[in-house]
Structures are given as structure tokens and as C-alpha cells.
Chain length 723, copies 2
């Protein structure tokens, strides 16, 4: 059975990669438009590739340092050698370090590939827009799907491949229980992935918003020229930013989501080994395989009529994906989850997976309610703009904070429901009902099943944004601009939806990874650890965890503000030294702005990144020292730290994402002509709100998704150090 | 010994009340200036008293409803009757309900008295400013001290008085352990106090900022008239707001702090009954008594020279208070905390108290660093104003979030240090070292020892603010205005300090009240309850707790925005209908604005208030139902809910308080002439930040202090319902 499942997992991930390559060839075969369009697109490509190369260089150096620290930490410093043969220092150090490097490398490749295709897709979407809306829509979505499929398939191939390789390396003394050991040996893969994701999302997020805020403030506000005007020296940096932030950044985010949550779910599957055998361990990977298939079909069925709302077409594709994955999961549950003495288990867990699918749909609706201008919240922000920027900001903050309410209820219901469904499945561990935790894991996997499609929709955003910029800068006729504008508006919505989805799955996964951590600790100590908030040290650690989120957000916001400042200074300098730029007789120096943002973003991402890496380690080691007679106080304090950082991180991220999205669309709502329309006082107030929202929704918010999971994977990997 | 201690406690609280009355008579004997000044002051008095009367009417109705619910809930609904004779339904219901009503009433009286004096002090400070700075400073501080002493002494008298009365009502069967039962019977007093405080702080906070924001936006921004200009119809409402928000609101806040934390500390003292006897239970009240004495001396030594910084004089008074209270606590520890077999206990606990005093001083410094324009954070906000309101807002939010870091470290160190000091004191409970929790309680009491002086400094703020307004509106000469301006600036600092102090003590007390809750649950069930975050239900409850803080903050911000909107509409109407107002030929209708804000604030405070009251009850009852075989799941989930709401509430309150203060002073910094000074573009940007910060620092932030403690007292009082 194990080899059948591994065939399915490896086969479908390789198949999805092959399909992604075919899609990429299809996209690259589209026309590339006029020479003017190519000139702009080339400049974007050059800037994006230059940035990514430098970013990966920085990350590589940091990753090698961490790998050395891991090898040293596991190999030498860890003093309490457990009796378990695979936990021997050398073996464990080798596997953890290797899988860390592999995870980091895979994440890098997935991010690079996704962006490579998307910066080549944008011009083809622009060219397709000169023929039909459907052609442009399909080109953009399929270009996005290359990124989406590549990311999810690489993650699956990495985890599945490592499992396969390790399954041949069983020590002779422990053949029977060997599959239950493997998940703990490949923990490093998730850590490597989230390590790269943190810096990719932070650096990309700072890059994109520093360029955006800087270009807007100095161009739109000071010089009075429109967005994407070729006279603005920062305009190329702005377009590059969409690719390195939304595209490479979000790709890395979802890569590590699927990797870390797969491994976490496998660890919980180990608990049920006596009931399900290896099926329970590999089931999460099977769901991801099925999700890849469903996503491919979902992407391919999307088409639109010339006069229809393209969002409807994308929604249809999403519902098709969700429906297919539900049917496939039903079959998989019935086939794989049969435990002796628990005839009802399979459909209990199927319902858990459906809870996950329902949660992802709920998040789509909630996010739309809080960020689209058809509904009350965005209208209230627009309305508050009548009395100036201050009331616009207060109302936007209020809407953002309110928008945490429904997502939390959705998460609460999903967690409790899947836990109770799993708990009543008839599965027994040590004489007690024990399927609850696995139920939450299956719900998480159900939610992540549609990740491939969701990510395709997400990358659709920067592609259409860039296509619009190319159309605008190459001065195409109004009718074509209208098409890319419609796609661009849809792209804004899909970007907001992905963020809702990403944080929803992070929240659901948080409990899964937390439970995996507790199980990991138990694996080392042999006793079950409780995390008691009533111990003052655990409470203090919790307080520190919550504070970390505020600190990190503060640093992320400030980084954007600083880097934007340097863009503004540079653009002002160019305008002053070359007055011909504004008259259109002189060329602005785009490259200089790209350089400045690149350096600024790379410099600014180091401090917040280092904070996230070191803080939990310091907390764990400090409380280990303070523990005295309480042997596990270090590990327990880290657990409290992790949980509260996660809770606060979820709330803060939802607040930042939705607040930022709502401000953006309040401005767009006024631009449709209400409250005086463009250039009116309410519009000016709304532009302030939109600018404040930029680093909220595209830098700090998405970076918090990664922070949450990086904390989980760090603590998972470093658990032995705290014991 | 018990009666000696009660004599001290009751004697010092009655003595302090008498001293407050004498101080009030001294203040009322000062001169009341010119007829113009009296006219303005009368209008403020009228508005403030009218508002307070209506607010108390609303609160009374709500309080009676809660009292009935308590009586019914305890008397009838509670099904599992414990065996303990005093816990019999009728007895418990009677005491809890009665102490609730008494707490609510006392809080109301203290708030009313404080405001009654302060609205009569403002004009006397204005008149004193025409003679000397020192006279004005002393009048303002002593007027504030009436409020400060009254509040703390009433709280002490209430708790001490209830203890005294109940000590005569011991059932014959349990004379020996009777003192250990009393703290649980007077829980309602703290709940009543925090119930009134929530509405007083919320209503007052919404009132003051709706009037302030509305008056500023329509006066300063639209009509271009200066602050406190008599032509602005909302100017009296603005001045009234300072009294009902800062004065009555903050008074209620610190009243319930001392009440709730006294009772919580007494409950932890019960745990040490075998070691310290009744001394341990009454020790917290003794510290408060000594603090009253120290505060009186501190207030009376304050004096300043004409050319000195008045802040130095106030700081001197604070250090005198802290030094005296430290010496007195040393004596009290040595006298009262002698346990057989623990000769070192007394100085361990003395050091715990010093940790508390040190923490309060640390909070003073940290708050100054983040909110005064001598330091980096405020300067950075001012600097970011150069590129407009958006960057000002981003930087302000960043500074506010960063400002959570040091306070959290201070709290963390204080909690762990006092826990370890207490734990190593030699006190033994059930064979294990058991003084740790009491150590954190003593640290909290040490921090609260200076509450009387701190509150005097706080009320100093609105008094000098009002005095400045009276001077401005009655068109006094520049030299006198300069004096009140200096006092007003100092008042802004002291208000910020009190908020830092209030949240610091709330944070330190959070763990104390949480432990008291666990002890209360143990008292009912007989078994020790652990709060395990690893249970999904507890995690979900924690997530809900964190979300409550975001929801509440959202509602508080929106309430201000809404009520300010109605002020703006009204002022615009008056300007339009009576053009003579702007020319100075026609009188604005101040009363109408006062009415509008009054109604708006009272309406707006009900929803967030109700949310805080009902949410924990719903969580407790829902998880009790879901608990199934886990009998205490309801109580455990409530504990998780409470803790995380507290953690997030502390972080959010610090963020809001300091962010708001920093924005305010960034504007003031620019007004000193840097970056172009008043009316420059950076100044306009800074005004936007200041306006956003208004509801942060004066509505949402301070209301969160109360929310944190109200949640603790609700759960303490309602614990039996969740079991």
C-alpha cells in the first residue's frame, strides 16, 4: 500500500510539473505585441530578475549560516541523547540539515520559476487584450497557473520524495515502525521553506510597497501626473514590485504553507498508526495530489464572454475545483481510512475535509464583504472621507479591526467541529477516543486542497496589473485599456481573496502544527507535556509572543516608510536635474530607482527577519535556564509563546489585510464618481487612506502569514534544544 | 491583630477622606477671577453635571438589571450546591449582589465627587495664574488630589468596611477559617466597581473625543479659527469632555483597579493563611493605607519657582511619595509577614513590593520616551510628516506598535522576578514552595501604592486644560496665557504617564486576578484546574478572547467617529444659519452641542459595553455545553479566553495610548517652529495624525484598561456558573 500511495503522490506531482511546463510553453507561444510594449516589458523583466538574483544571494548566505547552526546544534550541543537509534546525534543532524537545505532550495526554485513565467506573461496578456477579453483572461490565468501548479507540485514532490528516499533507509532494528519516524526526520524541509518564504515575502513586500508609495506620493500627489505615467522615474520599480512581492512572495508563502502543514499533518497521522497504518501518514499528501488534479481542471474550464464580469468566470473555476476535490476526497477517504473496529471513521474524516472546504469558501465571502465597495464597510470608509483624511483613517482602522470577527468565528467553528467529528470517529488511542487532532489536520488539508487554483488566481493579479501598466505606458487606445482595467480590478479582488485564504489556512494549521510540536516534545521526553497558562513563566512567554507580532509589524511598516522616502528623494532629484523628463523630451533613469529600492528592501528585511528567528530561541533557552526543577519549562514556555504569537498574528494579519483592501477600494469607489469623484476633497482623503493601507495589505499582513508558520517550524525543529 | 489592622485600614481611609474634604475647602476658598471667566466656567459646570447625571441614570438602570441577574443566577439557577455552608445559595446570592451594588455606588460617588471638585478648580487655577505659576500649580494639583485621595480612600473603605462588617457575621460552625471565606463573598464589590468604570470610561471617552475631534475638524480645519475660540459652538462641549472623560473616567478606572486588585490579592493571601494568618489577607489593604499617607505628603510638598519646569516639581512629588511608601512597606513587611519556619519571608516580600515600585518608575520613563518630543520616536513621526499625512500615519502606527516592546519586557521581568522572590521566601503550601503567586500580588500592590498621587497628577491634566481654555476664551493677557500653556503641556505629559501606569498595573494585576479565578474555581470544585492551551476548545476560546479586543476597539473608534460627525453637522448648521457667529456679533448655541454629544456618547457606549459583559458568559456557557465528559471545560475555556483577551488588551492599549500621545506631541513639536512650524504642510499632516490619535489615547486605549479588569471580575463572580 505504501508504494501505491507514493506512486500516486510522486506521479501526480511530476505530472503537475509537466502540465505546468506545457502551460508555460502555451503562454510563451502567444504574441508579444508592439515594440513599445516589448521595451517596457523588458525593463520590468530586467529589474525583477536583477532583484530576485540579489535577494536569493542574500537569502543563500543566511540559509547556509542557519544550516551550519542546525548541524552544530543538533550534532554537538544537544546533550541529552535519547535512546532512540534514529535520534542519534549524527543521523538526526544530517537529516534535519539536509532537508532544511532542500526545502530552502525548492522554495527558491518554485519562486523563481513562477516569477520567470509571470514577467513573460504580462506582455502577452497586454497583447491578447488587443484581440479579446477572453484571450487576455485565459492567458493571465494560465500564466498564473504555471506558478500555482509549480509551487504546490514542488512542495508535494519535496515532501513525498524525501519520504520515499527515507523509506529505503530503514535501520534493520526498526522496520515495522520506520514510517512513523520519517516525518520527524524531514521537519527541516518545512523550516527551510518557511525560512526562504519569510525573507521572500518580507523583502518582496517592502520592495513593492516602497516603490508604490514612493511613486504615488511623488508622482500623483506632488507632480500631479497619473499612475503608471512613463515620465515617473519610479514607475518601472513599481511594476517590478508587483512581481517580486505578490508573485514570488506569495508563491513562497503558499509553498511553505503546504510543505509545513503536510509534515505537521503527517506527524499527527503517526498518532493513528495503529488504526490506519501508513495510510494515515500519507493521506495528507494524497489530498494534495488530488487537489492538483482538481486545480488543473478548474483552471482549464475558465472562459468569459466579452461583456461578462471576469470575476464570475474565475469564481466558476474555483467552484469547479472545490467540487471536484470534494468528490475525490470522498473516494480517498472511503479507500484509505479504514480502521479495524471503526467502520464510521472514513465518513467522519470526509466531513472534516468538507469542513475545511467550507471554511475556504466562507473566507472568500467574508473577504469580499469587507473589501468590496458593494458592501457597508467600504462604503462607510468612503463616507468618512467627506470630513477629511483623519476620519477616513479612523474608520478604516475600525473596519479592519471589525473584520477579524467573522473569520475568527469561522476558524472557531471549523476547529471545534472537525475536532469533535474526528473525536467521534471511533478511533481509539491508548484506550481513549483519539481522532480529534487528526480531524483538525484533515480539515486543514481540505482547505489546502484548492491551493493550486487559489495561487493561480493570486498570480493573475500582478500579471494583469503589469499588463495594464504596459498598455498605459505604451499609450494604447482607450478600448483596450478598458479591458485591462477590468482585469486589473478583478486582480485586486483575487489578491485580497488569496490573502484571506492564506491566513485562514494558517489559522487552521496553527493548531495542527502546535499539536505536532507537543507530539515532537513527547517523542523526545517520553512524557506528555501540558501547556499550562497558569504558570507565570508560560503567561510571560505568551505576553512576549503577542508582543513579537506588534514589534514585527512595527518594523515592517517602518521599513516601507524608510525605503519609500529614499525613492521620493531620488525622483525629486531626477525631476530637478532633468527638467526635460516632465516635458517628455528627456528619459527618466528607471534603473537608478530600481537599484535604490532593491538595496533598501534587502537591507530592511534583515532586522525583522532576524527578530523572528532569534526571539523564540532566546525565550526557549531563557526559560529553560529559569526552569530549575521544572524540566520542561523551556519547551512549555515556547509553546505558550508560539500559541499566543499565532493568535495575535492571525488577528493582526486579518486586520492589516482587510483594512488595507478596504481603504484601496474606498478610493476606487470614490473614483467611480460618487462623493465628487476623482480630484475632489473626499478623493484626496481616500488617497491618504489607500497609501496607509499599502504596507498594511502587501507588506506587514502577508509577512505575518509567514511569521506564524515560521515560528511553528522553528519551534518544531528546535524542540530538542529546549528540553 | 485582625482588629488592629482593620483599625489602621479604616482609620487611614477615613482620615484620607477627611483630608480630601479639607483640601477641597482650601481649593474652593481660592479666588474665582473675573465675571467673564465665571461665565465660561459656569457653562462647563452645567454641561459636565448634566452629562454625569444622565450617564449615571443610564448606568443605574443597567446596574440594577445586572444585580437582578446576579441574584437570580446565584440564588436559583446554580444547580450544583456546594457543601460549604457559606456557599449556600441564598447567602452567597445576597452577599454577591449586595457587594456589587455597593461597589457600583461607591464608584459613582467617587467619580462624582472628583469631578465636582475639578470643575470648580479649573476657574480657580485660571485666577491663580494671574498671580503666580506656583499658586496655579498648587491649586491644580490639590484640586486633583481631592479626586485622587477620594477615589483611593473610597475603594479602601469599601473593601475594608465590607471585611469588617462580615467579620462579625461568622457562622458559629466556622469561626477559625472565617477570614478566609470573606474575600470570596465580597467579590461583587470589584465587579460593581469595574462595571461602572467601563461605562464611565467608555461614555466619557467617547464624549470627550467626539467633542474634541468634531470641534477641531470643523473649527480649526474648515473655519480656520484657533482652538478654544469662543465662536466655535462646540468649544464648551470640548471643555466639558476633558472633565467627564479624563477626570470622571480615569477616576472610575483607578477606583476599580484598586478595588479589584485588593480583593484579588486578598484571595491569594488566603492561600497563605496557614503561614501568615489574617495578616496575609489584610496586608494588601495595609499597603494601600500606607500609600494614602505617602500620597498626601507627596502632594503637599510640591511647589515650583516661577521660571522652573513645573514637570520637575511634579516628578519630585512622585519620587517623595515612592520613597515614603517604600519605607513604610519595609516596616509593614517586617511587622506583619512573619511565618513560622520562614524567617526570610518578610524581606523577600519587601523586595517583591520594591519590584512593583520599580516597575511603576520604569513605566514613567518608557512612556516619556515614547511620547515626548525630546526623543527619537516622536521626532521620527514629525519627520515623516514632511511627505504628507500618509507617511505620518504609517510612522505613528509603527511607533505605537514598537512602544509595546519595553513595557512587555518590564512586565515580564517584574512578574518572573516577584514570582521567584516569593517562591524562594520559604513559605510552604501543601509541602511545596508556595509564596510565588503572593509575591506577584505584593508586587502589584507595591505598584498601586502610589495610586493616590498618580491620580492627583492625572486629574491635574483636565483641570489645567480647562483653565487654559477659560484664560483663552476670556481673552486674558499673553503673559498669563503663557503660564497656563506651560501647565497645560505638563498636564498632557501627566495624562500620558497615568495611562502608562494604569496599563502597567493592569498587566501586573492580570496574573493576580487570573490566579484568583483559578483559586475560586478550586474553591468550588475541590480540585485544582489546569488551563491547557493544547485543548482545541481552550485554543479557540483564546482566539475569541483576542478577537474581542479587536472588536471592542473597532466599536470604540467608530463610536467617536459617528458622534464627531454629528457635532460637525450641528456646527456647520449653526455657522450657516447664524453668520453673525463668525463675525462675533451673534452668540453660538453651546448647549445644543453639549446635548448632541451627551446623547451620542450615551447611545454609543451601550453596544461595546454589552459586548464585554456578555461575550465571556456566552463563551463559558457554550463550552460548558460542548464539554461532555470534561466537567470543567467551561471554566477552563473561560480562563483561556480571559488570559488571551488580557494579553492582547495590554498590547493594544499600550499601542493606542502611546501612539496617540506620540502623534499629539509630534504636532506640538512642529508647532515649536521646526519643519516650517504652524500652518506649514508638515503641520497639516501632523494635525491629521493628532486627530487619529485622539480616540486612540482617550477613548479606546483607556477603555481597554477597564475591559481587562472587567473581564477578570466578571469571570471571578460568575465562575460558579461555568462549573
Amino acid at each position: 500500500m505504501q508504494s501505491t500511495l507514493l506512486y500516486i503522490i510522486l506521479g501526480s506531482s511530476i505530472g503537475a510539473l509537466a502540465f505546468a511546463v506545457a502551460l508555460a510553453r502555451w503562454v510563451l507561444a502567444r504574441g508579444t505585441g508592439t515594440p513599445e510594449m516589448r521595451k517596457i516589458s523588458d525593463a520590468i523583466q530586467e529589474g525583477a530578475e536583477a532583484y530576485l538574483a540579489r535577494q536569493y544571494k542574500t537569502i543563500s548566505v543566511l540559509a547556509v549560516l542557519v544550516a551550519v547552526a542546525l548541524a552544530v546544534g543538533y550534532g554537538i550541543l544537544r546533550t541529552s541523547a535519547p535512546t532512540d537509534p534514529v535520534s542519534e546525534r549524527g543521523v538526526l543532524a544530517f537529516y534535519i540539515t539536509l532537508s532544511f537545505l532542500l526545502g530552502a532550495l525548492s522554495s527558491g526554485i518554485a519562486g523563481f520559476m513562477g516569477m520567470w513565467v509571470s514577467i513573460r506573461t504580462n506582455i502577452r496578456v497586454a497583447a491578447a487584450a488587443t484581440t479579446s477579453l477572453n484571450a487576455a483572461l485565459q492567458t493571465a490565468l494560465r500564466g498564473g497557473a504555471v506558478s500555482g501548479l509549480f509551487t504546490v507540485a514542488m512542495s508535494l514532490l519535496g515532501v513525498g520524495g524525501l519520504f520515499t528516499i527515507l523509506s529505503f533507509l530503514s535501520p534493520p532494528s526498526m522496520v515495522a515502525e520506520w514510517p512513523t519516524k520519517i516525518p520527524f526526520l524531514i521537519l527541516g524541509y518545512g523550516f527551510g521553506a518557511s525560512f526562504v518564504a519569510l525573507f521572500a515575502q518580507l523583502g518582496g513586500g517592502i520592495y513593492t510597497k516602497a516603490a508604490d508609495v514612493g511613486a504615488d506620493l511623488v508622482g500623483k500627489v506632488e507632480a500631479g501626473i497619473p499612475e503608471d505615467d512613463p515620465r515617473n522615474p519610479a514607475v518601472i520599480a513599481d511594476l517590478v514590485g508587483d512581481n517580486v512581492g505578490d508573485c514570488a512572495g506569495r508563491g513562497a508563502d503558499l509553498f511553505e504553507s503546504t510543505a509545513a502543514e503536510n509534515i505537521g499533518a503527517m506527524i499527527l497521522g503517526v498518532l493513528l498508526y495503529k488504526s490506519f497504518g501508513v495510510n494515515g501518514i500519507l493521506f495528507p499528501l494524497v489530498i494534495m495530489s488530488l487537489g492538483l488534479l482538481a486545480s488543473i481542471i478548474g483552471v482549464m474550464v475558465v472562459k468569459t464572454k466579452e461583456d461578462a464580469d471576469p470575476m464570475d468566470a474565475l469564481n466558476r473555476g474555483y467552484y469547479v475545483t472545490a467540487a471536484i476535490v470534494s468528490v475525490l476526497i470522498f473516494v480517498a477517504c472511503k479507500w484509505l481510512l479504514n480502521a479495524p473496529g471503526a467502520p464510521d471513521a472514513w465518513w467522519h474524516f470526509f466531513l472534516c475535509a468538507m469542513v475545511g472546504v467550507a471554511t475556504s469558501i466562507a473566507f472568500v465571502f467574508i473577504t469580499q464583504y469587507y473589501t468590496e465597495y458593494r458592501y457597508r464597510p467600504v462604503k462607510a470608509i468612503a463616507d468618512a472621507s467627506k470630513t477629511g483624511p483623519a476620519t477616513n483613517i479612523i474608520m478604516g482602522l475600525s473596519v479592519g479591526m471589525e473584520s477579524t470577527v467573522l473569520p475568527v468565528f469561522a476558524i472557531a467553528i471549523a476547529l471545534v467541529a472537525s475536532y469533535m467529528l474526528g473525536g467521534s470517529s471511533g478511533i481509539v488511542i491508548d484506550g481513549k477516543p483519539g481522532g480529534g487532532l487528526y480531524g483538525t489536520a484533515v480539515a486543514t488539508m481540505g482547505m489546502l486542497g484548492t491551493a493550486g487554483y487559489i495561487l493561480a488566481m493570486d498570480v493573475f493579479g500582478p500579471i494583469t496589473d503589469n499588463a495594464g501598466g504596459i498598455i498605459e505606458m505604451s499609450k494604447q487606445p482607450e478600448a483596450i485599456r478598458e479591458k485591462t482595467d477590468r482585469l486589473d480590478a478583478v486582480g485586486n479582488t483575487t489578491k485580497a481573496l488569496t490573502k484571506g485564504y492564506a491566513i485562514g489556512s494558517a489559522a487552521l494549521a496553527a493548531f495542527l502544527l502546535f499539536s505536532a510540536y507537543l507530539d515532537e516534545v513527547k517523542n523526545y521526553t517520553g512524557v506528555e507535556m501540558k501547556v499550562e497558562l497558569s504558570k507565570p513563566q508560560v503567561f510571560v512567554a505568551a505576553l512576549l509572543g503577542g508582543m513579537l507580532v506588534f514589534w514585527f509589524t512595527s518594523l515592517a511598516l517602518r521599513a516601507v516608510s524608510r525605503a519609500a522616502q529614499s525613492v521620493i528623494t531620488e525622483v525629486r532629484r531626477q525631476f530637478k536635474e532633468k527638467p526635460g523628463i516632465m516635458l517628455g523630451t528627456d528619459q527618466p533613469d528607471y534603473g537608478r530607482c530600481v537599484d535604490i529600492v532593491t538595496i533598501g528592501a534587502l537591507k530592511a528585511m534583515v532586522l525583522p527577519g532576524a527578530l523572528v528567528l532569534f526571539f523564540p530561541i532566546v525565550v526557549g533557552l531563557a526559560f529553560k535556564e529559569l526552569g530549575g526543577s521544572d524540566a520542561h519549562l523551556g519547551a512549555e514556555a515556547v509553546a505558550g509563546f508560539l500559541m499566543i504569537a499565532t493568535v495575535v498574528g492571525i488577528l493582526m494579519a486579518v486586520f492589516l489585510n482587510n483594512g488595507g483592501g478596504a481603504w484601496d477600494n474606498a478610493k476606487k469607489y470614490i473614483e467611480t464618481g460618487v462623493l465628487g469623484g476623482k480630484k475632489s476633497d473626499p478623493h484626496k482623503a481616500a488617497v491618504v487612506g489607500d497609501t496607509v493601507g499599502d504596507p498594511f495589505k502587501d507588506t506587514a499582513g502577508p509577512s505575518l502569514h509567514v511569521l506564524i508558520k515560521l515560528l511553528s517550524t522553528i519551534t518544531l525543529v528546535l524542540a530538542p534544544l529546549f528540553i
